[in-house]
């Protein structure tokens, strides 16, 4: 994607600056961009290391596994077709808990595992099943307790209260997830040409 977007940005803005004679600003920003990328990375380094370390501790415990049982009622609502399938439900809930805790590195492999298990039950192998669609939508809604990257960026820019956005983020995420699930249900119904697993 960036292979398309990046050159477009460069070509448009560089030629615009040359034609409009805005070269001094452009030159300044070229040098500034490398500096700000490096200083952001250095500032991010501390928070990211701290957080990866904490999350490593979490992933070595049975915390994720123990939290999955709280999701049971929600899973039965979101994945009515998987009600009897304990194995897939377990994989889905592991992925969701890992996402909620911000264990991005752990969440993706767990999610891929869940997708593979759902594919075994899928009747049309080249098409997403209902459960898969719901699962992907939930993953794209990114429900997360601590938005670590944003907090790290905010503190690197000298925010007075880097964590002040945590609560607003929860509300916005929940709204996004609810809307996503709702629209996914509609899309699932409308695209129900043939049977999907």
């Amino acid at each position: 994607m960036l292979n398309i977007v990046w050159p477009i940005f460069i070509i448009i803005s560089f030629s615009f600056a040359i034609f409009s004679g805005n070269l001094e600003n452009l030159n300044n920003s070229i040098f500034e961009s490398t500096n700000s990328a490096i200083s952001l990375s250095i500032d991010l380094l501390g928070t990211m290391c701290l957080w990866s370390g904490i999350m490593q501790i979490a992933s070595k415990t049975s915390l994720v596994e123990n939290l999955t049982r709280f999701l049971e009622p929600l899973l039965n609502f979101l994945f009515p077709k998987l009600k009897e399938n304990k194995k897939i439900k377990k994989e889905i809930s592991m992925n969701m808990i890992a996402n909620i805790l911000g264990l991005g590195n752990a969440a993706t492999p767990l999610g891929l595992k869940a997708m593979k298990s759902m594919q075994e039950e899928n009747e049309k192998k080249d098409t997403l099943s209902d459960s898969m669609m719901m699962f992907i939508v939930i993953n794209t809604a990114s429900i997360q307790i601590i938005p670590t990257t944003v907090i790290a960026i905010r503190s690197s820019l000298g925010s007075e209260n880097p964590t002040s956005i945590v609560f607003p983020t929860w509300i916005a995420t929940i709204i996004a997830a609810v809307v996503g699930v709702f629209v996914a249900r509609i899309v699932i119904k409308l695209t129900k040409g043939e049977k999907h697993g």
């Binding site: 994607m1 803005s13 820019l157 002040s164 607003p168 509300i171």
Partner: protein, 175 residues
Amino acid sequence: MKIINFLSSVAMPMVILLIVMYGVKEKNKVFDTFLDGAKEGIKTTLSILPTLIGLFLAIGALRSSGVLELIIKIARPVLDILNFPSELMPLAILRPISGSGSIAVATDIMKNCGVDSLIGNIASTIMGSTETTLYTIAVYASCIKIKKTRYILIAALAADIAGIIASTIICQMIS
């Protein structure tokens, strides 16, 4: 308002406390594990540095050349009707497409409008509450060789749009 601030500031300490206590309870070598993770953190952060340089160059050029200003000016009348701050439009467009791209744009916005300003807070909330939708769909669909995605993109993008609108409204409400 106090309770919101309290919840926001208690979340991170609580999660860290819970995890460390859990590790101790299960008799793990908690500090060694922490170090392993932290080393991974260095790798992750440094591996996005080249991406950030490239993107900061492109986004910085868009701003300094005046192109961004022009685009915002053109889009402003429409965005004003929707009551959506036009400074945030580039972020809203890039967010579902590119993770590191949206980090660069969000940082740029926070720097230019003030990290604790209303716009800065909305940008932060958008970053926290939405995902790189296109990437997620691509990874999950391609790992099991799915070709027909049954318009999943519509549902996922609806979630993103809802998250962006909700972020704007909530931040305006509590500021």
